[in-house]
């Protein structure tokens, strides 16, 4: 048996502060159908993140400007609990949560067969109970499970995962410290079966090669998370 030792690359090395390899995800658990009164719900723990998602609808939109004559409208609310971070967060929507609500709705939109429910609204509530970096990706992943739990027709599930650059190295799934001290952050959401990207953001500086590597790494991470999503729905509804 020949073993090739590679030096200079970060393959399999434990180079990160929390001891993870460059392509290693934090521990992930998802549970579907946790809220009795919601049409669909999911609870997700991803490293130190704890996210609860509730989905209601499709139902009649009482806000008439949200009604679309040919399709349903997705109304998404991402909210961080005041106790979810070390320093108390001022409750209510802020610039960041309004942006994340918008991009979450846009990341989920291509997967949902909205044209089946004209004039209605699908409401998604994402509550971050504990935050430790990567909450937008955790929110999208959990929201997708909650939508499936609500029985809403979808083209595919949506999975999200971030990659980034820390200490001049492209790594998968940034923690809070890596997110703050790192050089770049690339959250990616995909539809895992078709491989289509539904969300791609990039914050920080990356070379074109590094960016490509970061996207590839994030897509790989998404594929692993997709298996946990499937397992969560299997556990809920059984085989």
């Amino acid at each position: 048996m020949i073993i090739i030792l590679t030096e200079g690359t970060n393959l399999g090395t434990k180079s990160r502060d929390d001891g993870r390899a460059f392509d290693e995800l934090r521990p992930l658990t998802i549970e579907a159908g946790v809220l009795e009164r919601a049409d669909g719900s999911a609870y997700l723990e991803f490293g130190g993140n704890k996210v609860l998602v509730a989905v209601y609808g499709p139902k009649e939109s009482f806000i008439r400007r949200f009604q679309r004559p040919d399709r349903a409208y997705i109304r998404c609310r991402y909210n961080m609990a005041p106790f979810s971070v070390d320093d108390r967060k001022r409750p209510g929507p802020d610039r960041r949560s309004v942006e994340i609500s918008k991009i979450t709705a846009e990341a989920l939109q291509p997967a949902i067969l909205l044209e089946k429910y004209p004039r209605s609204v699908i409401e998604i509530f994402i509550e971050v109970l504990e935050a430790e970096g990567g909450t937008r990706c955790a929110g999208i992943t959990a929201a997708s499970v909650a939508l499936a739990d609500a029985g809403i027709p979808m083209r595919d599930m949506v999975v999200a995962c971030a990659s980034g650059k820390v200490n001049d190295e492209v790594v998968l799934d940034l923690s809070e410290v890596e997110d703050k001290d790192g050089q770049a952050d690339v959250p990616v959401a995909i539809m895992p079966r078709s491989g289509k990207i539904t969300l791609l953001q990039s914050d920080g500086s990356l070379t074109p090669e590094e960016f490509e590597k970061a996207v590839d790494l994030a897509v790989e991470g998404c594929q692993s998370i997709s298996k946990v999503q499937k397992e969560a729905l299997k556990n809920r509804y059984g085989e």
Binding site: G57, E60, L113, A148, G151, P153, M154, D156, M157, Y237
Partner: protein, 189 residues
């Protein structure tokens, strides 16, 4: 890999190709590939070449023939009473959009009914069964069964809810007004 009957699938899972199956409920055609669109179990109808997914998770309520609904009388015209459909009976999930259905005078009760106002008045809460759905907004209803009809009547004079005093009669406890209705056996006192 082709899906077999009884397989557990998620949205987006491949079921087959359009040359072998027609996608039925819970499945869709994605450029020639038949895929699942809900969480559930695959069911193949090899005789009719149809493949569908039986949803395991609850699905948004759909109005179809023989569904019992709860609604409120909006208007009583000469031959037709208009009903705002609020919910499907025994289904806690909200309707996707509010629908308006109609009850023709011949479908209100068994036997001859001279005027539709002898069966319904504006504001009555009724249980009715769907007889026909055409398009999104054209729903025909009937109440010509014992378990169908008015479950809560409103007094036309003072708008109080009324008590049942006879088979086809209700009385207002507030103003003693007596009115006729097609009353369901499930009338709420």
């Amino acid at each position: 890999m082709k899906a077999k009957s009884g397989d557990f699938v998620l949205p987006g899972d491949f079921l087959g190709v359009s040359e072998e199956f027609v996608p039925a409920e819970g499945a869709y055609d994605d450029d020639g590939d038949i895929k699942a669109m809900v969480v559930g179990m695959v069911s193949r109808d090899d005789k009719n070449k149809r493949i569908f997914v039986v949803p395991e998770a609850g699905s948004p309520p759909i109005l179809k023939k023989n569904t019992t609904i709860l609604g409120q009388i909006m208007e009583v015209r000469g031959q037709r009473a208009l009903v705002k459909i609020h919910a499907i009976k025994d289904n806690p999930r909200k309707l996707v959009v509010s629908f308006v259905g109609g009850i023709h005078v011949s479908q209100a009760q068994k036997g001859y009914l001279a005027k539709l106002t002898d069966a319904f008045h504006i504001g009555d809460i009724i249980e009715a069964r769907i007889t026909k759905v055409v398009g999104l907004d054209n729903i025909d209803l009937k109440t010509s069964q014992k378990d169908l009809g008015v479950v809560k009547a409103m007094c036309t004079r003072c708008r109080h809810f009324m008590d049942q005093t006879d088979k086809n009669e209700v009385t207002c406890p507030n103003c003693d007004q007596k009115e006729k209705r097609k009353i369901s056996m499930n009338y709420q006192v």
